[in-house]
């Protein structure tokens, strides 16, 4: 990963070059698409069917849901984006940045950028957005801004952020939630702004938006990075996967998110196809370390040795996933390939159980979800059957997601699933795994993990920081603190004429982007 200091004084041309080089994989995919000019011009308007309700498109409105971030990301921009498969920091509204000390970050803002309404973009807009976040705890961005001591404008195009302690995750976390909104929002009022948000992004709102209606966007031809394609972009919420696929086959939508595996044969023919974002969502299961029998290391290892991950990925997920090794997934800060994986070995598992004082095996309750992730129930059933071979009985209990969340937090579980999409910074994911849940956070086993988290949070240099997380991942993996299963691919159905493939943009589940990146156009 590039050192932030090197980003200083980047011209637009070097940015474009850098972006091309740094995101080689999507660039390759996109250039393949660009090699078919007919298909590129064939569709000027794309309709994207999303699988979750779009609750708002104003980035400063309290409301859950990840999809809205993805939609907003097309209208408004962060200062620095984390894009591509390996979290590369990419200049967006800040053209360069540097740490003058471990606690002081200075960002130079791009000049001559205009909002969709023609207002010039200046530091005042950044301050306005920051204040909005600070004053509204319901936005849930306290984790980003709590450590900030001072957030100030040095001049019209320079922002200085001073933190109380070194906070390595500040910039990546800001990329996830800090979408810059013009100060004119204050005079427009939130109601008017909600219908017609204004940003600096590649797309502007084409038509006032109302709830339960599609979001209609049109290309911002004055975009600082050059006009994007397609010219028009529409986001439509279609809840049911089969309906998304049917509309795709009819040609009324052009990209369908979240295609279930069962529908693949339908999508992979005619004018439609499937594209994949590899390994983008971690699905892992948390042991209650304060409960018998999982307080015992050997029991946890036994469970992990009794799972045949390759079979799960190959047979249940039809290859659309990866066996999960270590705490992270490929592309994450701290991911490493040199861990010794738990290979399927029921004999070894039995032996470990016997050594742990369970010669007759163990039994536990496993809270699982159904229909929330690809094949979640089927995977749990397959794994339970494998565990059985080692004398481990998992009683599966399908549990509603809201209950899974609260049980996880309160420690009311033996084994419970956790999912995490690719985010720009690992810190909050680790918080969710090792700090939030009772039964995990109060275990001595996780003390060294939390120590490493604390250290990692203070190391600004990404390479040195990654080293800490590699150490953490190894420790958590070897101590079998989690029940590791798989990392899930995201599947999209596309109309072949779009030539689209997902370009990862990391944020709160903002993990893809529909516009073809302007930097990748030539």
């Amino acid at each position: 990963m590039t050192r932030p200091e090197q980003r200083e004084r980047l011209s637009r041309r070097t940015f474009l070059r850098g972006a091309i080089a740094s995101s080689a994989a999507p660039a390759l995919m996109a250039s393949r698409a660009a090699a078919q000019p007919a298909s590129r011009t064939a569709l000027d308007e794309w309709v994207v069917a999303v699988s979750e309700d779009i609750t708002t498109i104003d980035p400063l409105v309290e409301a859950g849901g990840a999809i809205r971030w993805m939609v907003s990301y097309h209208i408004c921009e962060p200062l620095v984006g984390y894009e591509g498969p390996s979290f590369e920091a990419v200049p967006r509204l800040a053209e360069s940045w540097k740490y003058s000390s471990d606690t002081t970050l200075e960002l130079k803002l791009r000049r001559n950028v205009k909002f969709h309404n023609g207002d010039p973009f200046t530091a005042e807009d950044v301050l306005y957005t920051y204040e909005a976040h600070r004053s509204d705890p319901k936005l849930g961005s306290g984790y980003v801004f709590d450590p900030v001591e001072k957030f100030e404008a040095v001049d019209s195009h320079t922002i200085r952020i001073v933190t109380r302690t070194p906070v390595a995750s500040l910039l990546p976390n800001m990329a996830a939630v800090f979408l810059v909104v013009p100060k004119v929002r204050r005079t427009m009022g939130p109601e008017a702004f909600r219908r017609h948000p204004i940003g600096t992004g590649m797309y502007r709102v084409a038509k006032d938006w109302a709830r339960d209606q599609p979001v209609e966007l049109q290309a911002n031809d004055a975009y600082w990075g050059g006009p994007p394609s397609p010219k028009r972009l529409q986001f439509r919420f279609i809840r049911e996967a089969s309906t998304r696929v049917a509309e795709l086959q009819r040609g009324t939508i052009h990209v369908a998110e979240n295609v279930p595996l069962a529908q693949l044969p339908l999508v992979k023919r005619g004018n439609t196809d499937v594209v994949v974002m590899k390994g983008s969502r971690i699905i892992v299961h948390e042991f209650n370390l304060m409960r018998e029998p999982f307080s015992n290391l050997k029991v946890r290892q036994a469970v992990n040795f009794a799972i045949d991950r390759d079979v799960v990925v190959k047979n249940v997920l039809q290859g659309y996933g990866l066996p999960h090794v270590g705490v992270f997934a490929p592309g994450w800060l701290g991911y490493s390939t040199d861990l010794q994986p738990y290979t399927f070995n029921p004999q070894r598992a039995k032996q470990l159980l016997a050594e742990a004082g369970h010669p007759n095996g163990i039994e536990f309750e496993w809270q699982i979800t159904e229909g929330v992730f690809q094949k979640d129930r089927e995977i749990a059933e397959a794994v339970a059957a494998q565990l059985k071979q080692a004398g481990i009985t998992a009683r599966l209990r399908v549990t509603e997601r809201a209950t899974v969340f609260s049980n996880h937090a309160s420690g009311n579980f033996s084994v419970v699933p956790v999912q995490w999409p690719g985010t720009p910074d690992p810190d909050r994911y680790l918080q969710w795994l090792f700090v939030r849940p009772k039964g995990v956070s109060d275990s001595k086993e996780t003390e060294p993990i939390r120590q490493l988290m604390e250290e990692g949070r203070r190391i600004i240099d990404p390479e040195k920081r990654a080293q800490k997380y590699r150490e953490l991942s190894r420790l958590a993996y070897e101590r079998a603190l989690l029940l590791f299963t798989h990392v899930q691919d995201e599947l999209y159905g596309i109309d072949r004429r779009t030539g689209w493939s997902p370009y990862p943009v990391r944020g709160i589940a903002v993990h893809h982007w529909y516009a073809l990146h302007p930097a990748l156009k030539r």
Partner: protein
């Protein structure tokens, strides 16, 4: 109508307690990255940090004063969220019921009149299938056939008349089948009555006997079923709204429960309760219009 007040209080209380028994809106509304302090602030902002009985008491107090709270998800008044979805639900319910009546009742009459004929067997076979088929499956098959293969009707969404056809058909099928069977058996019973024999004896045409004498009396159980079927329409609507992406109350209810959007769920519960009370009242009135013997106070 006053009798319904305790029922509504009871229903909202039960729903309130069940919802609060599991899940925390702060987990569902805030991003998973949010800190515990963020979550606390969220709970405080929505009054979720207070004891349960205080929360329920406040809900009742505010409701009496006409304030039904704001949706956690949308930030809008909960009543507004409901009213936004209501037209779609009413439209679908009316269309599917009308379709069921227009097809189901005549089919039942024909089957009764042509008892044990091919027509009767076909209609009854259709009715059995119609009642047993799963709405979800039927909806998808209709989309596959009429929308993807033949391309004659849109697959989802709301706005045009064409978009109403498939959802109404899917939702109406069960009721249509039920009405056909019910009309048939009810007609058969009526046709055995003495006054039908009398009607024939005085030389009336079959058409007049059926429409003026038989059907009118056979309709009484059908009206009852229409009232009861309302609950089915509400439940079945979740499935149909999901398949056809119909922006109605069914999916709003479903989502609001999953998201623990308490104000919206409670508004819907109150509303549905009121609708049931109103429909039952309406049916009682219809009875007395159709059958003077049922009129309150008059000797049977």
């Amino acid at each position: 109508v006053l009798q319904s007040v305790p029922a509504l209080v009871g229903v909202t209380l039960v729903v309130f307690l069940l919802l609060h028994a599991s899940g925390d809106p702060a987990d569902l509304m805030l991003p998973p990255e949010a800190t515990e302090a963020d979550r606390q602030a969220f709970r405080r902002a929505h009054g979720l940090d207070r004891p349960l009985h205080v929360q329920y008491g406040l809900f009742v107090w505010h409701t009496v004063r006409g304030d039904l709270g704001r949706s956690f998800t949308y930030g809008d008044p909960a009543l507004e969220v409901l009213l936004r979805r209501l037209p779609a639900t009413v439209e679908l319910a009316l269309a599917s019921t009308a379709l069921a009546l227009l097809v189901g009742v005549p089919c039942g009459v024909i089957a009764a009149f042509r008892r044990n004929s091919i027509a009767d067997y076909l209609i009854m076979l259709g009715a059995s299938l119609g009642q047993s088929v799963a709405g979800f499956w039927l909806g998808l098959v209709l989309i596959m056939l009429l929308s993807v293969q033949l391309g004659v009707l849109p697959a989802s969404g709301r706005g045009t008349l064409a978009q109403l056809v498939l959802p109404a058909l899917t939702l109406g099928t069960w009721l249509m089948a039920l009405l056909a069977r019910l009309t048939r058996s009810s007609m058969l019973e009526v046709l055995r009555s003495d006054y039908i024999t009398t009607a024939y004896a005085k030389g009336l045409a079959t058409r007049a006997v059926v429409l003026r004498h038989a059907l009118k009396n056979a309709l009484i159980p059908i009206v009852t079923v229409l009232g009861v079927s309302l609950s089915y329409q509400m439940g079945g609507a979740v499935v149909v709204e999901t398949v056809f992406n119909w922006p109605g109350l069914g999916t709003l209810t479903f989502d609001s429960v999953l998201r623990r959007d308490y104000p919206v769920v409670l508004v819907i519960v109150l509303f549905v309760g009121l609708v049931f009370v109103a429909v039952n009242l309406l049916i009682d009135i219809l009875y007395s219009l159709m059958d003077p013997r049922i009129r309150v106070g008059s000797p049977a």
